[in-house]
């Protein structure tokens, strides 16, 4: 107890900041999810689990939940496969490698909103440059395009493409860091045994990347699940709920319908999902070993 008191001046400010901005809002969110709060923000008393019943009973709830699973699984899986290939390339020596590595960082540093905006513009009918490119190479026939950003299905698909694109840098860099730990001797031994490049990669290198891959996948699952800006820009102006995930739905409750009690209930559900993922992360990765 005495040494904790001694530590307090050093870690106290950090604890206070986390308590105010992370822990307290979590508690408040749980509390608000059981209250009836008017659109102007007046707390009209407790309603038990009614808000949860309303949120789950909403017609689009299960489709939204299913779409969230698709969103996370497809984006994280595609990101992982492409990143493994990218990292393998960037780990090899070739002239200009440094330049390519720097280019890979650009979407990581850039605002996700702005990256999505340029894709949204590119897909516009007639004047969008991606759309016009697709016409030029003959993939679509009319400059009117398909109305990529007007339909929930296509807008959502393009949003997944953008989500993969912006997730690649972190994933690639994490796998690159993992590749540095693969000892050259194990690769040489496999070569001497007559294994070709692909075989060596699959049976010698890939198993040794397990640690880096599980870290990258779990952090990506959390990031993609929590992602708002991409869908907000790509599908936000489409009426209805056919392109929503749990996260965009929370913000619709909060902003369009001004129902903070329902938003809190859905946030609690999302929060519990995040808690489960974090628990898996802590068990699998053991981040606190040896600190």
């Amino acid at each position: 107890m005495k040494d904790l008191l001694k530590a307090l001046p050093w870690i106290g400010p950090a604890v206070a900041l986390i308590a105010t901005v992370v822990l307290f809002p979590v508690g408040l969110m749980f509390w608000n999810s059981t209250r009836d709060i008017s659109q102007s923000g007046v707390d009209k008393g407790g309603v038990g689990l009614d808000n949860f019943a309303t949120v789950v009973g909403f017609d689009a709830f299960w489709p939204i939940l299913g779409r969230t699973v698709v969103w996370v699984v497809v984006v994280v899986a595609c990101t992982l496969v492409i990143s493994l290939a990218l990292a393998a390339l960037l780990n090899k020596a070739f002239p200009g490698r440094r330049l390519v590595r720097m280019a890979v960082i650009v979407p990581w540093a850039s605002s996700v909103v702005m990256t999505t905006l340029v894709v949204h513009y590119g897909l516009e009918p007639y004047f969008g440059i991606i759309n016009s490119f697709l016409v030029d190479v003959g993939l679509i026939d009319s400059p009117e395009g398909y109305g990529w950003t007007r339909h929930a299905g296509t807008a959502f698909t393009w949003a997944m493409v953008v989500a993969v694109f912006v997730s690649l840098p972190f994933t690639t860099y994490t796998i690159l860091a993992g590749l540095q730990t693969v000892p050259g001797e194990t690769v040489e031994a496999a070569r001497l045994d007559g294994a070709n490049g692909v075989r060596t990669y699959l049976s010698v290198v890939l198993p040794q990347l397990r640690g880096a891959v599980s870290v990258a996948v779990l952090i990506n699952i959390i990031n993609v699940f929590n992602s708002l800006p991409i869908l907000r820009v790509m599908t936000g102006s489409i009426p209805g709920y056919d392109a929503d995930t749990v996260m965009t739905m929370i913000f619709k409750y909060m902003q369009n319908q001004r129902q903070i009690d329902l938003a809190s209930a859905l946030s609690v559900i999302a929060f519990l999902v995040v808690v489960v993922i974090v628990a898996v992360y802590v068990r699998l990765v053991r981040p606190l070993e040896e600190v």
């Binding site: 040494d3 001694k6 530590a7 400010p13 950090a14 604890v15 986390i18 901005v21 992370v22 809002p25 979590v26 408040l28 780990n91 090899k92 390519v100 720097m102 280019a103 960082i105 650009v106 979407p107 990581w108 540093a109 850039s110 605002s111 909103v113 702005m114 990256t115 905006l117 340029v118 513009y121 590119g122 440059i129 400059p143 694109f165 972190f170 860099y173 994490t174 860091a177 540095q180 730990t181 693969v182 050259g184 397990r210 952090i219 959390i222 992602s227 800006p229 820009v233 996260m247 909060m254 902003q255 903070i260 938003a263 929060f271 802590v282 990765v285 053991r286 981040p287 040896e290 600190v291």
Partner: protein
């Protein structure tokens, strides 16, 4: 399953201190490269380069087109005339006060970075140097804040900040950005402090230096790269923050650029050339900053799992 060690998370460097690099392994690269596969790598590298820069090139070329050209039904890949004056005229548009948005972004990011530094530096130093009860609980709390992102907490933050009377203020977003980037800063600086041999501290203490003097005079110069990394990362993450700002800042002038630019979408006639000009101004500086800390980015993000 902590398979990565620290020197390996910082590709190309020997870690924060020479003592870290002692156990250096040979890298996994082929020794002799046939010309064919070298050409293949070059081609692959070129494709990657183009794909990753493409959205930003479209942005850049778009930013110097005229409104007529960027909205033309016969779109051009490259601008017919280069209108650099867009970069001056773009700041006054009816959609949103962009100059105020730029100032908001700057103030919020700078202040959040200062708060993170003031709060994370002592915590990183103390937890790396001293064992005390509750240390692991504290470090666990720090890791968890990295996993929980502001988007999932906005409904709680919204009500809390109303009660505190700071909804729609810069202070609200400074606190949010500081809290959610604390984790990266603590971990990256923690790993640098942990890399300094304890004997260095003890020698200074024998010479009569107090804990604070040991930190500022002996340790700080050695952990400088870690501090720079933490500062840059926090600044860039705050600069790009979107979800919490969207809800917690309600007045147009208070909002950062990330929120302000979304207002152009769905307009009857979107001024895309202005959206892209502002985006280029917002993106170029942070990309350069990120490139400067490229080698140390992974270490802070995957927290304690890479030691």
């Amino acid at each position: 399953m902590a398979v990565l060690t620290r020197e390996q998370t910082t590709p190309g460097t020997a870690g924060p201190l020479p003592t870290d690099g002692l156990r250096r392994r040979r890298r996994y690269t082929a020794d002799q490269v046939p010309l064919g596969s070298l050409l293949l790598r070059l081609l692959g590298g070129l494709v990657v380069l183009v794909v990753f820069l493409l959205p930003y090139l479209i942005m850049f070329f778009g930013s110097v087109k005229t409104k007529a050209e960027i909205r033309s039904v016969d779109p051009t890949y490259f601008p017919r005339e280069w209108h650099w004056d867009n970069y001056l005229t773009m700041w006054s548009t009816p959609e949103t006060p962009l100059l105020q948005n730029l100032i908001s972004t700057l103030v919020i990011s700078l202040c959040a970075t200062l708060v993170v530094l003031a709060v994370a530096l002592p915590a990183a130093y103390y937890t790396a140097r001293f064992r005390f009860r509750g240390r692991l609980v504290f470090l666990f709390l720090v890791i968890v804040t990295q996993m929980v992102q502001p988007a999932v907490l906005t409904s709680g933050l919204f009500r809390e900040f109303i009660a505190m009377g700071i909804l729609d203020t810069w202070l609200a977003m400074i606190l949010v950005n500081a809290a959610f980037n604390l984790s990266f800063a603590v971990w990256i600086m923690h790993s640098f402090f942990a890399g300094i041999p304890r004997e260095v501290d003890e020698a200074a203490q024998l010479d009569g230096a107090g804990t604070f003097a040991v930190l500022t005079r002996i340790n700080l110069p050695l952990v400088w790269p870690g501090i720079v990394t933490a500062v840059v990362f926090t600044f860039v993450a705050s600069w790009n923050e979107f979800a919490a700002s969207l809800v917690l800042l309600t007045t147009a002038g208070n909002q950062p650029l990330s929120v302000a630019l979304t207002k152009f979408v769905g307009q009857y006639e979107t001024s895309w050339h202005y959206v892209f000009g502002v985006s280029i101004v917002a993106i170029v500086p942070v990309v350069l900053l990120f490139m400067a800390i490229e080698k140390r980015l992974v270490g802070g993000l995957v927290a304690g799992s890479v030691k």
